[in-house]
Each structure stands twice: as C-alpha cells, then as structure tokens.
C-alpha cells in the first residue's frame, strides 16, 4: 500500500508541476488543483498508513490511526477548494478583460511600456 500511495503522490505532483509551467491559465489552474490533491494525500499519510484500527486508542485495541492529520487534511481541503474557486474567478475576469488567457505579463500593453495605468 505504501508504494501505491507514494507513487500516486509522486505522479500527481509531477503532473501538477508540469501543468503549472504551461502558458495558459486553464492548465495552470488544473496543475495547481492536482498539486493540492497530492498535498492532501501526503498530509493524510503523515499520520502513517493504518487500516482497520480505531482513531481513539483504547484497551485491547491493536493500535490507532492518528486522527490529527485527518483534521489537518479537512482544513487543507477546504482552504485549497476556496483558493481554487478564487483563482478561477480571477482568471475568468482577467480573460474577459484582456481577451486572452496567457499567464505571462510581457505584452506591449503593460504600464512598463508607457501604456495607461
């Protein structure tokens, strides 16, 4: 199971980083989303992988699954979900205002070239 989870995290991170380096907004956002998935799974495994054990340690229990990373992961999921929603809205706004969805700012119309403020 360790190998499966580890390779899943690795592949999601790699795909996320690759997409993040693209020129257009949409792949960048998908890449960021993949990266946050990878983070969430990684955070989940930081409490060690344990199956069929209770979250609260008691008499006679064979061990316990650390409940704290699960709480951390919930927080992280909520935050990354909210942030993704924000960046989608902002990217849409930028697309509608600029007419294209390139990520970089090296256009002829930036203020650096004497354009309007």
């Amino acid at each position: 199971m360790e190998a499966l989870v580890a390779s899943a995290i690795g592949m999601m991170t790699a795909a996320g980083v690759y997409l993040m380096l693209r020129q257009r907004t949409f792949p960048v956002i998908v890449g960021l989303t993949l990266l946050t998935y990878a983070v969430n799974v990684f955070l989940f495994t930081s409490g060690r992988l344990a199956t069929n054990v209770p979250a609260i340690y008691g008499e006679g229990a064979p061990g316990y699954a650390d409940p704290l990373p699960q709480a951390l992961v919930l927080t992280a999921i909520v935050i990354s979900f909210g942030m993704t929603a924000v960046i989608v809205m902002m990217a849409l706004g930028a697309f509608l205002e600029a007419g294209h969805d390139k990520v970089d700012m090296n256009d002829d119309d930036t203020p650096a070239n004497g354009g309007q403020k």
Partner: protein, 504 residues
Amino acid sequence: MMSHWIAAPVLLPAIMGALIVLLMRNDLLLQRVFSLVASFALLAVSLALLIAASTEAPEVYRLGDWPAPFGIVLVLDRLSAMMVLLTAVLAVCVLLYTIGTNWDARGRHFHALFQFQLMGICGAFLTGDAFNLFVFFEVLLIASYGLMIHAGGKDRLRAGVQYVAFNLVGSSLFLFALAAIYSITGTLNIADLAVKAAALSEGDAALFRVAAVMLMMVFAIKGALVPLQFWLPGTYSNAPGPVAALFAVMTKIGAYSVIRFGVLVLPPSHPITGTLIADLMLPAALLTLIIGALGILGATTLSRLAAFAAVASMGTAFIAISAFTPASISAALYYIVHSTLAGAALFLIVDLVVDRRAHDSLRDALPPIAQAGLISALFMVSAIATAGMPPLSGFIGKLLVLDALRDSAALIWSVILVTSLIMIVGFARAGSTLFWKAHASAPEGDAPHHPAQALAFVAVGLLLAGLVGLTVLAGPVIDWIEGTSAGLFDTSAYINANQLPEVK
C-alpha cells in the same frame, strides 16, 4: 497578565470585517467610520499588549482552553507584540490615506477585506502553532487577493492571477513541509517542536533537513527572497497604492517566521540542520539586495521602483537575520520596523504622484503635477529613508546591520554599501525625471487642478513622522529591541509559557 486581550487583535478585525460586509455593504460612510474605529481600537489594544509584554514573561492564550501541544495557542511575547503594534500603526495610516483619496469608493468591500487582512496578519504574528500559522497565512492571503484586484482593470487582474498562482504553490509547499515535520516529530506546536526537534534520532535526519528547508522556502516566498521574489514586483506595482502600502508588512511576516523558527526550532546549534539554513540564506539575501538595488536603478515605472525598494529592504533584513546572533536579530528587527514604515510611505507617495500624472512611466518627463512642491519634498524624505542615507532611521538601521556583521565584513559590507549607492542614484534619477525635468519640459503655468486631499497627506506625514520618531528615539527603541532579541534567544521562556506536559 493580559489573558483574554491576547485574542483581541484577531477577534476584533474578524468581527468588524463580518459586520461591515453583512450590515453596511451599501453605506460607505458607515464602513469608513467602523473600519477606522476598529483600527484605532486595534492600535490601543496592541499598545496595551506591547506594554504588558515588555514587562512580563511570554504569555499563552489557549483557544478553546485545550492545553498546549493538543490545543491551539496564541503566544504573546515581545516580538509578536511589536509586530502587531507595527501592523496596527500601518493599518491606521493606510486607512486614513484610503479614505482621503477615495480609493475605497473605486470598488466594493474594501473595508471588509481590509479588516480580514488585519485579522490574518495579527493572527500570523500571535499564533504559537505551525498549522495555525498556515491557516492565518491563508486568511491574510485570501483577503489580499481581494484587495489586490480592488477597483479592477486588465493589468491588475492578470497580475492578480499570477499572484494567486504563486501563493497557491507556496501554500502547497507549506503543507508538504508541515506534513513532513509532523510525521517526524508528531507535533505542530512551535514550542513543542523546539523541544522535540532538538532530540531527534539520526534516522530522521534526512527527512528533517528536507522539511526544514521546505519550511524556510515558504517563508522566503513570503519574504520575497531571491530566487523566490518573482511575484513581488508585478504584484506590488499593479496593486492599488494603499493596498501595496499595507502589503509592506506582509513581506515582514516571512522575515518574522524565519526569525521565530530559525531561533526556536532550527537554531544554528541544532545537531541535524546546523548552519544549513543560515548558509543557504546569506547568499540569497545578498542577491536579493543586489537585485532590488538594480531594480530601483532600472525601473521603467515609478510603481516598479517602489516594489524593488521593498525587495531591497527584505534583502538587507535577511542578511542580518541569516547570522542568527542576538545582535544581528536586533539589527534586523529595527530595520524591519523602519523599512515597513518607509516602504509604506513610498508606496503612498507613488500613488499620490501616479494619481496626478497621465501615466507612471519614468522614461520621459511630463508637465508638472498638482501640489508638486509638497509631493516632491515627501518623495525626497522617503527616498532618503529607503536608501539609508543620514539623517533618517534607514541610516541607523543599516549601521546596526553593518555593526552586527563585523565578522564577514569584506563581502557583506561592500554589498550593502555599494547597493546603497546604487539605490541613491536610482532614486535621484526618478526624482529628477518626475519633479525637475517636469519644469524644463513645460512652460511655467498653472499646474493642473487636483483636489487637495488633506487627509491623504496627513497619512503620509504620519508615516514619515514615525520614521523621524524612530530616528530621534533610536536609543530607547534599540534598547527595547535588544531586550526583545535577548528574550527571543532565551528560548526556555517561550517554551515554558506553553506549559507542555512532562514527557514520560
């Protein structure tokens, strides 16, 4: 004993932000009144906290009343009290400026976002829990996304997308680091981390080193340390002026976190990480300063000039921090206070100029702007402070940094001194294009009309008065900061305040 008041800098803006967005979203006057009252109240509370913290040992406030390593705590010590006060001072000045220039009328929800931003910043300074630090980072970031694109516009929105994307990567990195640290130590309370990290077994060494460097990279992104500074110039130069001024304290959160973790959890004496952090940070900080200074010299617009000044100031601060000695940390703290006020003043003055000029390009001179005399005087004062020329506090700050780093004088001194010269030249070039050549290019005549905006000038004046105060009262301030730095290195006080249970 301040007990419940420790939570006030977090709760007050949180409640006020919610009230403003729920009850007053259609009434700008009410928003202004409540936002101002809340900021002044924050100033009063943080002053009281500072006075309490400077006489008493660090104090812990348990959120939810769970004991330390299990529950989340806020910790008030001299360092956090100082940073909260700095935030409150900046907030009042920026808010006065915003109201004076009607920036808050150019878009919606400025005041609500402003209060949420303050909540995040104060929370980040006060929290004693690493995961809670992440949460407060996100609170201040999500508010800053809204503030960054306040009033809209194509360039601002596109710069905003870059800013959000960069910070989402930073947040992911933060979570990777926290998860790795938790998997090794089993705790995320900063004091508990300090205890457990000092007693790690050799088997965890490699993972811990990776986690430590990742954690510091996150703070370096926040603090705009080269090579992670790329988000800053575009963001700050495209953000609305007052928002960029408020952001002046955001880079300092990175510096604060580096100091907090670098002294408590990853000190140079740590058996596993050792001087790894300091060794990585010093060259990066020197490069940051050089790139910031060159950016000032080569900036094509006034806003980018101010943004690169912010980069350069972080470079100087990180150079001092990277030595991790009490003297260098106190120099860094003085310089952080100075550069926050100076940077904010510079951004506000830039906004005053840009508002009166057709565009903010520095390539060609334009006819004189309205109120040119007063604005040019303010620009000169803030340029002197930012570049670190006598007589203002920037000079004292750089002097302290130089004095604290005598050991490696040849390299560090020459970088700091040469970049100061480059910055002076850069500011002189910008000032002459803006204010002197303006008279040469246009015949003398009536300057174009522009409303006087007395309140805006008062706000800038208050920030500059803060710099003068920091210079005149340099003796007592430095004494106090040296006490703070000594308290910081006495890590047992911070750890004992958390009342961790005995490990059996």
